[in-house]
């Protein structure tokens, strides 16, 4: 059975890269030299950001998240504006734009004004390297993984600026927390991704997708531990709930966002979702086979597979947000340094050995499935062993209090009535 479209012509919707290439080649013939590059960038921005990221932010990030969390909390969520409340994010945006953006008198006005803008830019830039399809990547640079990591750590600076400039103690708390934690979660993050790099032998995101396609296996199976570490660390980087320490609502009001209002706040809020989407897209590309799906991409447009996977991964962020309490800053740092970092190192050690063995076998195709099986078992064993080694024991004391019949004074812990 052959796919319904077999050509690489411009009308092949399985890969919109063909269409844009056709447009750009036609434009190159009539436009002066160099203008086509600007056109390409504009086209890429429109296609990735305006057609995918922005609607996803609004309808998955804002509406979907509120709706799903509403269901988890046994309430309805937004359902008044438009059909099923679908226009709620747009109503919110209009409200935010109308609202006055206050600046405290003692604030550093310039920095406070610039911070949201600096926060937004990396969120746009991140999408430049994420492949939506074989040719659907704005800048297919060979070091795109490195580029992504570098750009995705930029928002820390913007959040620090926001927290510092507002001249509010809660904001300062948020800024202090985010800066002090940044290194602790970024090192295990990079180590985890290094495992994927070692297996595929490339730091190009397109290369990783091609690898997954070639060997018919997702990196998530070969490197399950890396995916877990990546998810935890990226949650911390994005300030998502189990580790939303820098904007912990119940503790420091809103952290670095305390003094922001109106659309300045809206930019932070919207782009938080944008980063989470970018992180999901990145995770899908590295760990979940990107726009491929075991041959399904021959029939279904690859970019639809990518979008579906990205949104499903984003659901994990929503899910944790609806479930888990928040860690303390020092607990997260201890967890990252003492637990995730050593696990990342062990993982790297294992995967490097495997890679060496694999190279000796001339990259035999069947061997990677064996490695996947070994790694899944080893990851579980490693987590368990390292937890035991660190003296961590699962909760042994009963989670029910003691019950007594009669009043009396203090009953020591050893005494069980």
């Amino acid at each position: 059975m052959t796919p319904f479209l077999v050509s690489d012509k411009w009308y092949d919707i399985r890969d919109l890269g063909n269409l844009s290439r056709a447009i750009l080649e036609a434009a190159d013939r009539i436009l002066p030299f160099g203008v086509v590059y600007v056109l390409a960038a504009v086209l890429g921005f429109v296609a990735s950001f305006l057609l995918f990221v922005l609607p996803s932010q609004l309808f998955v990030g804002v509406y979907g998240e509120r709706r799903i969390i509403g269901r988890m909390q046994s309430r309805l969520g937004p359902n008044r504006v438009g059909p099923f409340g679908l226009l709620q994010p747009i109503a919110d945006a209009i409200k935010l734009i109308q609202k006055e953006a206050l600046t405290p008198t003692q604030a550093d006005r310039a920095v406070m004004y610039v911070a949201p803008i600096i926060f937004v830019m990396p969120a746009v830039l991140l999408w430049a390297v994420i492949p939506f399809g074989e040719n659907m990547v704005i800048a297919d640079i060979p070091v795109s993984l490195l580029y992504f990591l570098a750009v995705s750590s930029l928002p820390v600076i913007a959040t620090f600026m926001a927290g510092w400039s507002a001249n509010n103690k809660y904001s300062l708390f948020g800024a202090m927390r985010i800066v002090s934690m940044a290194i602790s979660y970024e090192s295990p993050l990079v180590l985890a991704l290094l495992g994927a790099v070692v297996v595929t032998g490339t730091i190009s995101l397109s290369g990783m997708v091609a690898w997954a396609d070639e060997f018919n296996i997702w990196m998530a199976f070969v490197q399950p531990l890396a995916l877990v570490i990546y998810f935890i660390c990226v949650s911390a980087e994005l300030n998502r709930t189990p580790v939303d320490i820098a904007e912990a609502e119940s503790e420091i009001v809103a952290g670095y966002l305390t003094e922001y209002s109106g659309m300045k706040w809206g930019l932070f809020y919207g782009m938080d979702i944008g980063y989470a989407l970018a992180a999901s897209g990145f995770a899908v590309t590295v760990f979940l086979g990107g726009w491929t799906f075991f041959g399904l991409e021959q029939w279904v447009p690859g970019w639809l597979i990518f979008i579906a996977k990205t949104h499903l991964f984003y659901f994990l962020f929503i899910w944790t947000r609806g479930t888990l309490p928040r860690l303390r800053a020092d607990q997260l740092m201890a967890f990252a340094w003492k637990f995730l970092l050593p696990l990342g190192v062990f993982n790297l050690l294992i995967v490097s050995t495997e890679r060496m063995l694999w190279a000796e076998q001339d990259y035999a195709k069947g061997l990677i499935y064996l490695f996947a099986l070994i790694n899944i078992v080893l990851s579980g064993a490693l987590v368990y062993a390292w937890a035991r080694f660190n003296g961590y024991r699962p909760e042994r004391t009963p989670t029910r209090p003691r019950l007594v019949k009669q009043v009396g004074g203090y009953i020591p812990i050893e005494e069980r009535p």
């Binding site: 708390f173 503790e251 009001v253 888990l324 007594v404 203090y410």
Partner: protein
């Protein structure tokens, strides 16, 4: 870098407007980085001078005031006040009135603990899910109050000598429904939070209150029981016929925030047990003894105490044979429980301070009165 980085502690006001102060309460915390080195309570933002106002009103007119002290457990406050007046005037309550009072007080405990447990989980950062689940269950109890007394929050249901109205026919099926649907909810909360690693990491060993400290600060209620002290007014000084019912006192292990949380969850189970017994053996007969509207109790003083959801709630009344009390004083459990706040927060981080405050379960209306 030349020289050293200079750092100094600074004061941060947690409250009066803050998401986690449960009202208008303020902790003036001196922090060194994340660490709290001093904490001072500032209260009085909600002071309505209830105790003074009560001296100008008759005994019956004062009952609605007690609704508004601890607005999350108005039934218990009504009950405490009515018990004090009955003690002062020597009024007997018929058995049916007592049984209804017990059912209402225990339902109120369920509703109040729902709020306490949910808000506490919210303070630890479990973003609204536990509090929403708790609210869902609390609604059912508030519906019962609405059917019985006409109000959901400030019920004004107890009267001197009994209760205001007899139970309606809808009452029993509604309570049976609560009895049926509450245990799964408590198990659900336990499943969501009690065994959750992050929740344990945030609450275990945080805000540890030694038994000596708990007694010396004259704490009461779940705070005291969390520290491992078996004390409950319902057992120690029974009122409204609590001695007839079979229930246990849950006590904690180390006196940390986690223990106070699990003690509250278990207390909800025990309350259900009491309601079940009281409902099964609900006696007939009158629900109230007739008491003159302008009651003039004989000269003297009386102190009645009950186990409110937050601890020992006491009402102290002095009568000078006039229709209004000469002195009206409340011993609010939240206020006294707060006195250990400084000991529990100093040395911890700001995040811990919020958790500790949540575990005390304050109601600011009761602190400031």
């Amino acid at each position: 870098m030349s020289g050293i980085i200079k750092s100094e502690p600074f004061v941060i006001n947690i409250g009066p407007q803050h998401p986690s102060t449960h009202g208008v309460f303020r902790i003036k915390a001196t922090v060194d980085g994340e660490k709290v080195i001093d904490a001072e309570m500032v209260m009085g933002y909600l002071h309505r001078s209830m105790e003074k106002l009560a001296e100008e009103r008759t005994y019956t007119q004062n009952i609605p005031f007690t609704d508004r002290t601890d607005y999350l457990s108005s039934m218990s406050n009504n009950l405490g006040y009515c018990l004090a007046v009955e003690k002062l005037a020597g009024i007997e309550v018929p058995p049916r009135g007592n049984a209804i009072r017990v059912i209402m007080a225990e339902l109120q405990r369920l509703a109040s603990h729902c709020m306490a447990v949910g808000a506490f989980a919210n303070d630890t950062g479990a973003w609204q899910t536990p509090v929403m689940w708790a609210f869902r269950e609390r609604e059912k109890i508030l519906d019962i109050f609405e059917v019985t007394s006409g109000a959901r929050l400030t019920c004004n249901y107890m009267r001197i000598g009994g209760v205001a109205f007899d139970l309606r026919p809808e009452f029993e099926p509604m309570v049976r429904r609560v009895l049926r649907e509450f245990p799964p909810f408590i198990d659900e909360m336990e499943g969501l939070l009690s065994g959750n690693e992050i929740f344990i990491a945030r609450t275990r060993g945080v805000g540890v209150l030694s038994p000596e400290m708990a007694i010396n600060s004259s704490l009461s209620g779940p705070m005291l029981r969390g520290s491992g002290i078996a004390w409950d007014i319902r057992k120690a000084d029974p009122y409204c016929g609590y001695e007839q019912y079979d229930f246990d006192i849950p006590i904690g292990y180390n006196g940390d925030s986690y223990d106070r949380f699990i003690v509250r969850l278990e207390e909800m189970r025990q309350s259900l047990k009491i309601i079940q017994q009281a409902l099964d053996g609900l006696p007939g007969g009158p629900f109230r003894t007739e008491v003159p509207l302008a009651l003039r109790p004989p000269k003297g003083e009386a102190y009645a105490r009950i186990e409110s959801p937050r601890g020992e709630l006491g009402y102290y009344l002095v009568s000078d044979e006039s229709p209004a009390p000469y002195r009206f004083h409340i011993r609010p459990p939240s206020f006294i429980n707060l006195s250990a706040l400084k000991e529990m927060t100093v040395g911890g981080t700001v995040a811990d301070a919020i958790v500790v405050l949540g575990s005390i379960d304050i109601v600011v209306g009761e602190i400031d009165r």
